[in-house]
């Protein structure tokens, strides 16, 4: 049991320390695809270091929410890593404390505080970005639920550790249309939820077009660093859910030796690298959608998820 707690902490540390690198590699890959040199893959670490050493400026309009929100947003993905398989294929100490719905709830909780803080600061762009990102999230939420319930239905459980074994039981399951559609829907909502193209442009700072960036404009110093780091961890956690629970639960440690768990880190990193290639390809080959076309995009994701759910009894 002590070992399981140690592994749990190791999982959290992995996400905490590797999330900026994941971000850095993604940015570098995108720049490379566009025939540019791009910043070093370690740049996100330098950015965080710099921000942590800067003074913080607080809005005179702000309340305690503005100071508290970065911590909540930073902690949310870390809490989720206790519930999902990051390195091990077997459930760890905290695995049964919450299921996939709880993981979604924790992530939304962090986003909720960030949205409140954006309004709290009194900046005009904050509420605008908040209302937009709430629009996207409110459309993403039902799709998340449908995807979760479909996979839970197949596995008879909502615990991510149990679900992940489900799709690789047989090749017929892995290649079934249900699985294909679920993965497609989940990938589409990951892009929407982490503010990537085609829903939002993470590198754009044009005030009238941005969605996610406008919420964090008011943060400075340590708060800005925490929000940035939290965002990086959130996208890494969602990528890990797609990889380790839905798509490819290979390479995870099955034994309880420390060496097996440590070996899982590079294996998971390889899978993540492959995923980042796909993300970079999507990011560079599509354009950002207009605000009122996001609805079309998310409806496609919704329809795909619902059809996957209906197809399940037929094709499994």
């Amino acid at each position: 049991m002590a070992l399981h707690i140690a592994f749990n902490i190791l999982q959290m540390l992995t996400v905490l320390l590797l999330a900026p690198l994941v971000q850095g590699v993604l940015v570098r890959l995108e720049e490379r695809i566009q025939s540019k040199r791009g910043p070093s893959v370690w740049q996100p670490y330098f950015d965080l270091w710099k921000l942590f050493h800067k003074d913080e400026v607080l809005s005179t309009q702000g309340t305690w929410i503005f100071r508290f929100a970065p911590y909540a947003y930073f902690a949310a993905p870390l809490l989720v890593t206790m519930l999902i398989p990051v390195l091990t294929a077997y459930p760890l100490f905290m695995a049964f404390m919450g299921d996939m719905v709880a993981a979604g709830f924790i992530l939304s909780g962090g986003a909720f505080f960030l949205a409140l803080a954006a309004i709290d600061a009194g900046n005009v762009y904050g509420p605008m970005g908040t209302s937009r990102s709430r629009m996207v999230s409110s459309l993403v939420e039902p799709i998340f639920m449908i995807v979760f319930f479909s996979v839970s239905f197949a596995a008879n459980s909502t615990i991510p550790y149990v679900v992940q074994a489900q799709w690789v039981q047989s090749a017929a399951r892995f290649f079934s249309p249900t699985h294909v559609l679920l993965v497609a829907a989940f990938l589409m909502i990951i892009l929407a939820e982490t503010g990537r193209i085609p829903v939002d442009n993470p590198s754009g700072h044009f005030e009238l077009a941005m969605i996610d960036e406008s919420k964090v404009l008011e943060f400075s110093g340590r708060s800005a660093a925490l929000v940035k780091w939290g965002g990086q961890m959130k996208s890494m956690v969602l990528d890990l859910v797609l990889l380790n629970v839905l798509l490819a639960p290979w390479g995870l440690a099955t034994g309880t030796q420390v060496s097996a768990v440590l070996l899982a880190i590079p294996l998971v990193a390889v899978k993540l690298a492959a995923m980042l290639l796909v993300l970079a390809f999507i990011e560079t080959s599509f354009a950002k959608l207009r605000l009122f076309r996001i609805e079309d995009y998310l409806t496609v994701a919704f329809v795909v998820a619902v059809v996957a759910m209906f197809l399940q009894p037929v094709t499994l």
Partner: protein, 227 residues
């Protein structure tokens, strides 16, 4: 017949293609510009050819391999090529296609259509092979979605591509049921090319007279001689 492990793998891969095929039918409903519509159509046709290839390999049927080849040539090369040549300006225009029903609403209708298709086909699926299990309901659903897409587009090019998508759906179901009807599919494949050519020329004539291919606007008679 290919036996054992390889056969299982082919069946599984066909299921994968089936999943992507129905996904492509939903993507086909979303674009608002003719160009995007054509791109998705080409992808869908490619998946159809892939499925025919897999099934042909599985059953050791030369006819199905021929069907795959014809589909690949006609639908992913000749038809897009013809359209681009005859309707270049219309196809590349950034003008948005007029829709009778908004995209989200029609996608929600597509859910109902898909579910109905699976319900209707379910009684037919007793004791048939695993590939029919996949191809027949998905092909049927894609056919019906194609009919619906045809009904809500009010523009010549997307309408024509919707007709070809109906064709795709019907073929997808057909290749699993009968593995030796290459003559019919050969004829249909070539006919498709002719249909596209005729409609493309017609659409170009309409475009020259009216200024666009938005056939939804052609509801009233025009007085006088066309310029």
């Amino acid at each position: 017949m290919t036996g054992g492990f390889a056969a299982n793998l082919l069946v599984d891969l066909d299921a994968l293609v089936g999943g992507l095929f129905i996904l492509s039918a939903f993507f086909l409903m979303a674009p608002r510009q003719a160009q995007g519509f054509l791109k998705h159509f080409v992808r869908q046709s490619f998946l159809l050819a892939l499925s025919a290839l897999l099934l042909g390999w599985l059953h050791g049927s030369v006819e199905l391999l021929l069907v795959a080849l014809i589909t690949l040539l006609a639908k992913t090369l000749i038809i897009p090529g013809l359209l681009t040549r005859t309707l270049e300006r219309e196809l590349r225009s950034r003008r948005e296609v007029e829709l009778a029903v908004s995209v989200p609403a029609s996608l929600l209708v597509a859910i109902v259509i898909t579910v109905l298709a699976f319900v209707f086909v379910a009684p037919l699926l007793h004791g048939v092979g695993p590939t029919v299990d996949i191809n027949l309901p998905i092909g049927f659903a894609v056919t019906l979605i194609g009919v619906y897409t045809l009904a809500v587009r009010r523009e010549a090019v997307p309408q024509m591509l919707a007709v070809m998508a109906i064709d795709n759906g019907a073929f997808f179901a057909g290749i699993a049921i009968a593995s030796s009807s290459a003559i019919v599919e050969l004829a249909a494949g070539l006919e498709g090319v002719v249909v596209v050519l005729v409609v493309a020329i017609l659409a170009r004539t309409i475009a020259q007279h009216v200024g666009s291919t938005a056939v939804g606007d052609l509801t009233s008679l025009k007085e006088g001689t066309p310029s």
